[in-house]
Symmetry: C2
Subunit: 490 residues, 2 copies
């Protein structure tokens, strides 16, 4: 794309000014329409050092009310960020519905720079491209407008700009070492940039190369493409997208109704001995995890009153509180609901070496959101693949992923509900909603079975915890956690 | 995709049968909805020899009324087809709105086979992939559902199937030489197939790999994906797609209002001498074109009464009637309107060595269709790029493309209209519509200027014919045609 790219002719000054006025006014009007349409707009500026990414953003945002946008300058990842998956810090920045986020460089710069510095093998680069394409596709599939600009200047122009900046003490600092390196290795950089642009040029989030040699002209090109992109995106209020075939290897799961619950019990004495032994073991492993910087993600889903809380307690009881966090997941807050549904989980990922336990999870998308109609059919049907892709990112990052389904039968649930209702100390644990959900048992069973079949990948398989006897389930959970961590430590 | 692909577990017989009944019934219902929604569905079956492409299609179509589908078996291209661009014979097969076309292998097989036979260089393969991605994207952008199935069987299964076919005299013929070759070079083929699948796996027209080892199970997978795909596509009644940035080098064009018309005249005597000389020259060149098998495409657009017809006559007057065809383009017939708007031009392409002259063209999309609202704004804005891509295909095929805009001023048009109106012999040439279009002169001028700016590529630039003096325009046209053909013959 870049190699044969030639700048078009710059229009006359009068024309540029006229069109600028028009495009600025239009963007100003559109900000309110974006709000009404709940359209989230992510605008990514990539390009050469000294091509004017920051200053162009500065001009664009003059037309937008500060309540409606955020600008994020993505310099090299911080220590905290390096301890999380590559996409973490970008996912964090995605806008809410109805708002803009402008990124001053992003995942392209991070990736191409790593290439140029020889820090990515060919295989790693290919995997990175896969991740990026999935990330962008998940955003656009979920209604995001993703606008990607590459700010292009020639080698001579770049040299001249840097020299000008270096002349003054006030602007000297703005020329980064990498910019100079780029300038000295312009052709090599262009080749790497070009390959990246081609590898990630999707019709749903295409690249726009901006001739950035002249500032006003650059601003105009960006503004006009933004306005056009927004107008088109707003025409698609609720469009559906093709469902992709699963590409991940799956583990066969039993149907809920076929899971044998009888006889899955443990005697009290044996329980106490086992619990102590297993918790001790887990505590030791936690230290080794920390030293080896392996992140662990444990997730719990299951019927109401199946015993998730008590089960989690027996896990955390074994752990150093500085090294884990439990995330109870209720219905999303407004600022969470306004973003991609995986956002609130991405932002809760542990640092490497840490353990995150999710009490209910992203699987809400294909259970409660599906059954209560909180998302469209296309949304939840697409989610199986989106979730597998998400967990694949975590796996590639090096995480141990342990997913539990806590299983009881309908009678056991009734007994526990009644017990909670009759016991003043436990009454807070039972709500009308629990009773309403119970009425939908059969529908949930269908949804859970589909979920187990479609998301039990070899890298993140589901584990069933038979929990009519809660103690049995706790011991089983501890054993699985220990087992999985030991495998990862080998 | 293929290398690490593992078949999933085949469900129990009862389940397969139950799901088959359901999916068949659903497809039967959907055929009428497709008709209502005017959704065109292109179903492409690719895959290994003896994987059951044909027999699966045979089963699928039992659920569809014969009025609603066509099956096309794309064996190796015929002599006639080889003389046209690679995509020609596929474009010909695309369905009408509301109907299905099933292709028994297609552009994947043709491309991968050429690779395996060493007939495509890396560069040619890359260009082929570009063409294919553009072709599929143009279809989905224009509302087509494109379903792509790759029928997968293992090497042993393929061997066994072919041996079974070879045993009987009646089925012996069904094992083609290429199938045997595939089987003997299974790994090599898989690698080429795999690369192709990855290169063309777009989220708007993704690949579905079908486990074809068991026939009923294969049928079920295809049916379920078809049903799902159709249901999703029907939810998008009028969705808009992002406009892609132009990637082709452009030639700067003047604005219509800046074109100097005065003084562009020729004396009668000079005209006669020149005409004779130029026509003789063109006649000679036509023979050389034919021998060298170079196709030529000449297109005319211009104001009503600008003199297109007479101009074309002076070109064709020089040509051997066996080697050219004039295509007068009026509003599309119903069967043309029901397809991608470029279909009626693709199907009228000349054979190599021949000349096709289009009296009005595909540029109707960005002129009359734009101004009369015959297509959506997103449609005509997208068309500039679609047309450039189309002409790039023609250019890569080796065609000489000569595009004329025949220019007159508004007064000249009025004079000619009045003359036609007052002259009984010419009255057929003037209609109410001409007068109505004349009222929209200014709007047309805007549209034409945008068209000239955006579609004058270096490989298919526009030429302006100043035609207040029709004779001047004819001589100029002949000179340009001769010039362009001579360049191509060099």
């Amino acid at each position: 794309m870049l190699k044969n790219w030639k700048p078009g002719e710059i229009p006359e000054k009068d024309e540029v000014n006229g069109r600028l006025d028009k495009a600025r006014a239009r963007l100003y009007e559109l900000q309110m329409k974006i709000k009404e349409h709940k359209l989230p707009v992510l605008v990514l500026f990539e390009g050469w050092g000294a091509s004017g990414k920051g200053s162009t953003i500065g001009k664009i945002i003059r037309n937008i009310d500060p309540r409606f946008f955020k600008v994020a300058t993505m310099s090299a990842p911080a220590e905290e960020e390096l301890r999380r998956p590559f996409l973490y810090r970008y996912m964090r920045q995605i806008p809410e519905a109805g708002k803009f986020t402008f990124l001053d460089s992003g995942w392209m710069e991070e990736t191409t720079r790593a290439c140029l510095e020889g820090k990515l093998t060919d295989d790693e680069y290919a995997r990175r491209i896969d991740s990026i394409k999935r990330f962008e596709r998940q955003l656009t599939d979920n209604g995001y407008l993703v606008l990607k600009f590459f700010m292009q200047i020639g080698k001579e122009e770049q040299t001249a700009r840097m020299e000008r900046l270096l002349e003054s003490e006030d602007t000297h600092w703005r020329v980064a070492g990498f910019d100079k390196w780029q300038n000295e290795h312009y052709k090599k950089c262009r080749k790497v940039f070009d390959r990246y642009l081609m590898d990630t040029n999707m019709s749903t989030s295409p690249w726009y190369i901006i001739d950035a040699a002249e500032k006003k002209w650059a601003e105009l090109q960006v503004l006009e493409i933004m306005v056009e992109g927004i107008e088109i995106a707003m025409q698609n209020s609720a469009h559906s997208v093709p469902l992709l075939q699963n590409v991940f290897p799956l583990v066969k799961m039993p149907k809920l109704q076929d899971i044998e619950l009888e006889g899955k019990v443990i005697e009290d004495d044996e329980y106490r001995v086992e619990l102590k032994k297993l918790q001790k073991k887990l505590g030791e492993l936690h230290n080794r995890l920390y030293r080896k910087r392996i992140p662990v993600i444990i997730t719990y889903e299951g019927w109401d009153a199946a015993g998730k809380g008590g089960n989690i307690k027996r896990i955390t009881g074994a752990l150093d509180p500085r090294g884990f966090e439990v995330h109870p997941i209720a219905s999303p807050e407004p600022h969470e609901k306004a973003r991609h549904y995986l956002w609130r989980f991405w932002t809760r990922l542990p640092k490497d070496g840490h353990i995150a336990i999710f009490d209910r999870t992203w699987y809400g998308r294909v259970m409660v959101e599906r059954l209560e109609g909180f998302c469209s059919e296309n949304d939840w049907k697409r989610a199986y693949n989106e979730i597998n892709e998400f967990e694949k990112e975590l796996y590639d990052w090096g995480a141990v992923i342990i997913k539990f389904w806590v299983q009881i039968d309908k009678d056991t649930q009734l007994a526990r509900f009644t017990d909670r209702q009759n016991n003043p100390e436990k009454q807070w644990k039972i709500t009308d909603e629990d009773w309403r959900n119970r009425e939908k048992w059969d529908a949930y069973e269908v949804a859970v079975n589909e979920m187990l079949q479609k998301t039990s990948t070899t890298f993140a398989p589901w584990h069933i915890l038979e929990s009519v006897d809660k103690k049995y389930a706790r011991i089983k959970a501890l054993k699985i956690v220990i087992d999985e961590i030991e495998k990862a430590l080998e």
